[in-house]
Symmetry: C2
Subunit: 292 residues, 2 copies
């Protein structure tokens, strides 16, 4: 397998700004970066992503993958990110067929972050088969939630970013990506999975954001049967997951969760065997975005 030739572009992820509180007190706070990254495919401008900038090459690759603009890693010869001009230049080996037509239909989605799903991804969903035998134990859910809670993160420093993570069913963390747009975070993980040859069928996806239709579709595109969120879901996220036989767990925090779809995939265990609820969640739970 030839891997794409890629830069490893870096850029500051937070900035200090001055704030004045309700008592007139001044302080310096950190806020996350948000910057445009314009993607060019074979010199043709494709899209501008607004991103934190933590994993730009993986983001671009995962975006192309999840938009189904490239079908295999082999098709991508190079991804060069240059932050001085806010550009990602993608070179393919054989061009992207029908790129004009395939990027013409625009769906502006619910998600934070990457709002556009090109083409007719919804129609593809029915072709996706998730591994029917995949199971997740309740203790695995708790290990994932505990790991997320204790991670070092941009969020803890600056707030205002979403986090996504890929775990094994045993609760081992494989990838963790934060971004100002949560769909960017998903796409970056999809890109990393491709680069490392990681399959999704026996993995668990965690997101701090809501389980909307687009999140469910992106999870399905990566063949991941389990989606966990500390937030809630929407009707369409719920119905697409039901159609796919994907297991959604919402409101995952501490020892609590709500299992919403395909309950047969989750192995409930006696709570007494699972350890006590950790202290108040000092990580992501301190948030108040208004959407849960």
């Amino acid at each position: 397998m030839r891997l794409p030739e890629m830069t490893r572009a870096t850029v500051p992820l937070t900035q200090e700004v001055q704030a004045i509180d309700e008592k007139g007190r001044r302080s310096l706070i950190h806020i996350p970066a948000e910057r445009p990254l314009t993607v060019y495919v074979d010199k043709r401008e494709l899209v501008t992503l607004m991103t934190l900038g933590g994993a730009p090459e993986a983001l671009v690759l995962g975006y192309l993958r999840n938009q189904r603009l490239v079908r295999s890693l082999e098709e991508v010869a190079a991804i060069h990110v240059d932050w001085s001009v806010g550009a990602a230049a993608v070179r393919t080996r054989g061009g992207v067929a029908d790129i004009e037509e395939r990027t013409a239909r625009k769906v502006v989605t619910t998600g934070c972050g990457q709002g556009s799903v090109f083409g007719s991804l919804m129609e593809e969903v029915d072709d996706i088969v998730l591994p029917p035998e995949a199971r997740l134990r309740q203790s695995g859910v708790y290990r994932i939630v505990d790991t997320i809670r204790t991670l070092q993160s941009i969020y803890k420093q600056a707030g205002s970013v979403h986090g996504c993570a890929l775990f094994t069913r045993e609760g081992e963390l494989l990838y963790f990506v934060e971004d100002v747009g949560r769909h960017n975070a998903v796409d970056a993980i999809a890109g990393k999975m491709w680069l490392d040859g990681v399959q999704g069928g026996d993995k668990v996806f965690y997101t701090t954001g809501r389980l909307t239709s687009e999140m469910v579709i992106k999870g399905a595109q990566m063949s991941i049967p389990f989606l966990l969120s500390r937030s809630g879901t929407t009707q369409m996220g719920h119905s697409v997951a039901t159609r796919l036989g994907m297991t959604l767990l919402a409101r995952c925090t501490g020892r609590h969760f709500l299992l919403l779809t395909s309950p047969e995939r989750l192995i409930l265990e006696p709570v007494s065997t699972l350890g006590s609820d950790p202290k108040v969640d000092t990580g992501w739970a301190g948030s108040a975005d208004g959407v849960a």
Copy 2:
């Protein structure tokens, strides 16, 4: 002024689904609707918005306004929403000039919801002048926060939606819109403002979501000098607001806030004169989307 002829399409905004918690207990919970609404302008397909569906006509109108596809309400002859086919048919009086060209450039933004800003809105920002004399009192901020806290909402029933609101500087609520995509909520308010001839220059905009670049730009397009959020901001939201002389207040909850930009617009008052902190916020503050 001729108002557009419009439907008043309604559709259920929540759905009951079954959930199983960590102890195996079953319950019914409410989740918000999320449905596609495909917008046709003079029979040409423009975009598909994923929306809750609470204010579809205002959403479509505000979308056209904030994307600068129509410049005045007079240009819009009719907006017909038909939920049975998920379509909004817009008829204009004179057509939309250069619609092909103006919808060709795609920026996938940070926001929840409507992710795409067509064209070169960023370049327009420098032409926007917010009223330099507009001021907001600290007591007005608290009235706004208290009003939001006590509103009946889809959020309280079902979670997983964003709320946006327009207030007078005295704290009077003019509009409140919820949507699964927060940019839809902003656009719907922009549509309502147009229909009612409401100007933004002496108003305050409140959002449960983050103050990203796109939120700041949309606020500026409506000429609103004050943006309040219970969440945080991003570097680009902050820098665009600074350039515009727009006042951002982040982390507005209870009696707390962080004033981030154009501090001269806010009149701080002795906290002792402002009443005590209300009890724990039982409304939006109970959330945990992971992004604040």
